[in-house]
């Protein structure tokens, strides 16, 4: 959990309204290489919209997102991914009847992945199986060959992460990766995320499971009703009254 000085991503005054609903209002933050930024907040806070804006699935009304010196706000999702910003999806829909490693073929065919693996020996299938092994699919037990639909939830989440890793990303945006997992499953997936951070990947994690998240995150950003209400280290942030009020309500609101 290093705090480096290299500025990776700068989000400035991003805003998006859907009709009359202001989903995200004037959100700004900076991301440094090696950070693990937790984005937290009650439901309806605009976290998912923020994720969609950052990865290009939704075009913001206002604001800019500076990544590698370019403003990527409103850029198409596939171009954002090819620049190095990958994301997981909360609702995963892998190819159920195909072997697990086949699910990595699509990201491995992206221009970015092709550039990264150019000149390396071995066809895409074997590269896919190698990546799956890295995320914890035991090769000897033939797990990568099992159909994706038959995998338990923990493995499916790892498969989602593997899809991101196949892109050799600089930033991975995890959209509620822990949701649906038991405590022990989360505990077993944390080392994988730590390993990614040690390899130089920066993480942005939208989560509800705060205790597990804060074992990993070195910074936190709290949102409520589309607005950023706090930012800082996890401990600082959880001490703030506004954050507590957001999660638990104030004495008077009973």
């Amino acid at each position: 959990m290093t705090m480096s000085d290299e500025l990776l991503l700068e989000v400035r005054n991003v805003g998006k309204s859907f009709g009359g609903v202001k989903a995200v209002m004037d959100v700004s933050f900076t991301l440094y290489k090696g950070d693990v930024l937790g984005v937290i907040g009650p439901n309806g806070a605009g976290k998912t919209t923020l994720v969609n804006i950052l990865t290009g699935f939704v075009k913001p009304d206002r604001g800019s997102i500076i990544y590698k010196g370019r403003d990527i706000a409103g850029m198409a999702p596939n171009r954002v991914a090819n620049l190095g910003l990958a994301r997981t999806f909360q609702v995963m829909r892998p190819y159920h009847s195909l072997p697990a490693y086949k699910n990595l073929i699509v990201p491995l065919n992206s221009p970015r992945a092709k550039k990264a693996t150019a000149g390396k020996l071995g066809d895409r299938d074997s590269v896919a199986i190698d990546i799956l092994e890295e995320v914890g699919f035991e090769r000897d037990a033939r797990v990568p060959y099992k159909t994706a639909g038959s995998l338990p939830l923990g493995y499916q989440k790892r498969l989602e992460l593997a899809r991101c890793i196949a892109l050799k990303p600089e930033i991975i945006l995890c959209d509620e990766v822990f949701s649906g997992l038991s405590m022990s499953e989360i505990t077993s997936i944390l080392p994988l995320l730590e390993k990614l951070v040690m390899q130089g990947v920066t993480l942005i994690m939208v989560e509800h499971r705060l205790r597990e998240l804060f074992r990993l995150a070195n910074r936190a950003l709290v949102m409520r009703f589309g607005v950023k209400i706090a930012e800082g280290s996890p401990r600082e942030v959880m001490k703030k009254d506004e954050v507590r009020a957001a999660y638990m309500g104030t004495k008077r609101s009973r």
């Binding site: 990865t55 290009g56 699935f57 198409a76 999702p77 596939n78 991914a81 090819n82 990958a86 994301r87 999806f89 829909r93 190819y95 195909l98 086949k102 073929i105 699509v106 990201p107 065919n109 992206s110 221009p111 970015r112 992945a113 895409r124 899809r163 196949a166 892109l167």
Partner: protein, 337 residues
């Protein structure tokens, strides 16, 4: 036949099916035959037909092969990329007109015009469809529906290319054997070529585009690019068929843009089983002779194709090919619950 509360249908893979998976098919002649038989049946059957049919039905065979190629192109676009092409006649028209014009104005022989028209036709088709490939699938359906009708209007309105009379006197192919084998071989190449294509990585990407385009976008793939490739491939084989058609009968005219060419492949594909590629071919081989037999009834044929299409799509969407495959690979029996 629905299962009642006290019994249900139980399906098991035949033992020979399990034994012949992957490389194990080479383990004995029996397994090899099991795997190869359906494909050989199709190939040999098609190639033998010209010998046993009389001249009238030979022409029907050619028409059936043309429809089969169109159906292949429709099935590929609809089930592997998610683009529904309601205007197959557009490709036939482009291919036919380009080949015919090259032949009539520059005197190029059919052996040259047909492949050239396929290439040029697919470039033109892809170019025309380019604007809607960035957009949702419904736009592709609407634009492909409108284009054959527009093409006809423009040709008549501007008096181009022979307008309503068309151009006659094009070179035909040397003899009936060449006629038939050119198109049959083209059909087989298209069928097995497409099957190969969809089992490669590209096929996986295209299926992803159809099923879950958000995940494909997040994986860094440009959906536009792959759609362009798909449309190019599909229009190539269809324009080839159109160019061939012009030289089969020796003339080109507005009827190349007829609605028949748009709807019959769709009906054939739905009946044969969407997504199986070979089903589209089977469907075409069944429906085209049928439509010939009904030629005396005029517009009844189109109504009939559409009725068949509706019945299959509503009540038996798996289509014939999937049904046959199921029967071939699995056996069923009723089981008491």
């Amino acid at each position: 036949m629905m299962s009642s509360p006290d019994r249900r249908r139980k399906r098991l893979d035949r033992s020979i099916e399990v034994r012949s998976a992957g490389l194990y098919a080479l383990s004995s002649y029996r397994e090899m035959t099991y795997v190869l038989a359906p494909r050989l049946l199709l190939i040999v059957g098609l190639l033998i037909l010209p010998f046993i049919l009389d001249p009238y039905w030979q022409k029907v065979l050619c028409a059936a092969a043309i429809t089969a190629i169109l159906a292949l192109s429709f099935d590929f676009l609809a089930q592997y990329v998610g683009l529904v092409c309601l205007g197959g006649a557009m490709f036939i028209g482009f291919g036919g007109y380009i080949a015919g014009l090259m032949n009539a104005n520059w005197g190029l022989p059919p052996m040259l015009t047909i492949p050239l028209a396929a290439v040029i036709g697919s470039f033109v088709s892809t170019l025309v469809l380019l604007p809607c490939l960035r957009l949702r699938g419904i736009y592709f359906a609407i634009v492909t529906f409108m284009l054959p009708l527009f093409a006809r209007n423009v040709i008549v309105a501007l008096g181009l290319f022979g307008s309503t009379e068309g151009i006659t006197g094009l070179d035909t192919l040397p003899n009936t054997w060449v006629e038939q084998y050119v198109i049959l071989i083209a059909l087989l190449v298209a069928l097995f070529g497409l099957r190969r294509l969809v089992s490669e990585d590209i096929g996986l990407i295209m299926m992803g585009i159809k099923d879950n385009d958000q995940a494909v976008l997040a994986a860094g793939i440009s959906i536009f690019r792959y759609r362009v490739i798909a449309v190019f491939v599909a229009s190539f084989i269809a324009c080839f068929a159109g160019a061939y058609l012009a030289h089969l009968y020796g003339w080109l005219g507005l009827s190349l843009f007829a609605m028949d060419f748009s709807i019959l492949p769709i009906a054939a594909t739905v009946m044969g089983g969407m997504g199986t590629l070979s089903g589209a071919v089977i469907g075409a081989l069944i429906l085209t002779p049928l439509s010939e037999a009904l030629r005396g009834f005029g517009q009844l044929r189109v109504v009939l194709y559409c009725l068949v299409l509706l019945i299959f799509i509503l009540y038996k969407p798996e289509g014939l090919m999937n049904y046959l495959e199921r029967k071939y690979h699995q056996f069923e029996r009723w089981e008491k619950v």
